[in-house]
Symmetry: C2
Subunit: 305 residues, 2 copies
């Protein structure tokens, strides 16, 4: 059987050379000097920049056992078929996943090379790209949202490039073989509700200031100082200025430094006779952080979001 098996077919098939919805940009030939065979050519660009918005409802195929809505897959496709799936998928704002043996090259803020291995590559319609191995939460290579994805078949390889400007960065994934390719029609309008953030800690304190100390009165949040915005600004029962720095988890020396900068800036900014107290509010502190607090004359109040 020469044709690779395919399951799904959620969208009207526009064929490999269908024009992308984004304006086609002429592109110089890749680093594989020779000309690309027209049969295997296929590319698309996602919308550039951060303006990611779905323009129209996605075309959905008739759901059925073999081609459910919003999924198109290919197993062990040839390079041209894989590139076509990627191109068509991205053109329809689908999330595209590729799995197979590949190399990865990145150049931009830094540069990196990754030799051949089996990896999972995800291309998102907002321009993000992720290369995952079997280990780690973090992708081994990636590209942030705002890139233009491009996929083409070149000399038997399936090549994905995700590129952006400012900063100029490029990620190139070369698949010698694609074991599996899939395009998913994603719809997700939900935003997660998260509990236990620093914002929750702030809310708790504003509702019940005595959690910090008896007589504490919050006067402002995010109050601006020459050193930056202070989490909570207020005064104690003796009328002294109090600066709170809030952290949702156990803190180290960096948080003390942050608080110290705010306190220093306010001491310089307010009247010369103004007394300014700095209070770090967090579940706990490390040893060095505690020593640094003492050294700088700052205080600590244990509190958990």
């Amino acid at each position: 059987m020469a044709t690779p098996p395919t399951s799904g077919g959620g969208w009207p098939a526009p064929g490999p050379s269908a024009p992308s919805s984004a304006p086609r940009k002429e592109r110089s030939p890749g680093r594989c000097g020779g000309s690309t065979p027209p049969a295997g050519r296929s590319s698309t660009q996602s919308r550039p920049g951060g303006a990611f918005k779905r323009p129209t409802p996605l075309p959905r195929g008739v759901p059925s056992d073999e081609s459910p809505a919003g999924v198109r897959t290919l197993t062990a496709p040839d390079a041209a078929s894989a590139a076509a799936l990627v191109t068509d998928g991205l053109g329809a704002d689908a999330l595209v996943a590729l799995f197979g043996r590949c190399t990865v090259d990145y150049e931009g803020r830094a540069a990196s090379e990754l030799g051949p291995g089996d990896r999972h590559v995800m291309l998102k319609p907002d321009g993000a790209a992720l290369v995952h191995t079997d280990e780690g939460q973090q992708p081994v290579n990636w590209q942030p949202p705002g890139c233009e994805h491009d996929c083409r078949a070149t000399e038997g390889a399936t090549v994905v490039e995700s590129r952006r400007t400012s900063p100029e960065e490029s990620l190139v994934v070369r698949f010698s073989t694609v074991a599996h390719a899939a395009a998913f029609d994603v719809s997700d309008h939900e935003t997660p509700e998260v509990i236990g953030t620093e914002a929750d800690l702030k809310r708790r304190i504003l509702e019940e200031p005595s959690l910090v100390e008896d007589g504490f009165t919050p006067l402002a949040t995010e109050r601006k100082t020459p050193a930056g915005a202070v989490d909570v600004y207020g005064e104690d029962d003796a009328g002294r200025t109090v600066v709170l720095e809030l952290k949702r988890r156990r803190v180290g020396p960096d948080a003390v430094g942050q608080l110290d900068r705010y306190v220093g800036a306010l001491r310089r900014d307010l009247h010369a006779d103004a007394e300014v107290r700095g209070v770090l509010v967090a579940p706990s502190v490390t040893g060095r952080a505690r020593a640094l607090l003492a050294e700088r004359g700052l205080e600590f109040v244990p509190l958990t979001p």
Copy 2:
């Protein structure tokens, strides 16, 4: 057709109730109080803790057009089939991907809820879990490596749970429908070569110390101080102690605070008459950082990795 279409079959099929290689741990029933139908029951645990090592070569099926090595997929499976694929895949150290409509609940260091939507879920054999939407480089929900994955079919839903201890954390993904499921046999022994890190900057300076200033002599790297380890420790042509803090990119006030802590610690640690200079080495500094440098009597040398 009642049976969902399947492509691949890379492993010997051990059936949905095959015991996992990891020791089975008795588990209390999930929040769906009732008993789980045995037909749909299927679960696995990945190896706990960080000790992720492949014990034996993965069983690979005979490659062919329809079942290439290392890939098993199901399109629009019922819950039991999806759970079986996940369980078998994880049992064989495969990387598992699920796509479909789901809700996500997380509880641990924080807590979150995410309503129904189409998402891509990746389960790694090292215990990591990632839930991706169509936007953003970051997963909307996740679990770090070291978790035990568990997948079962419960009342028509495919439920994935990734759990770890210390800290106690649980991520539960409930699929009302799985549009596509895949298990990938990953082999990746490569580590990326990255250029342009802070380590490169350090190497450059050690090779050519005059890049910092004429007469600078490095004496140690990672020299310990009560405030932490200093990037580069040395002396200038006048014999004064010099502390370098290196950054690969433009720095803000936090890096100045870091350098300031090291300089302070050394001034206290060394002889009372010792003069200590602090030098921040980075491509550039922000305005506030520059002001803070001046305020603390610290210096800046522009240098790019």
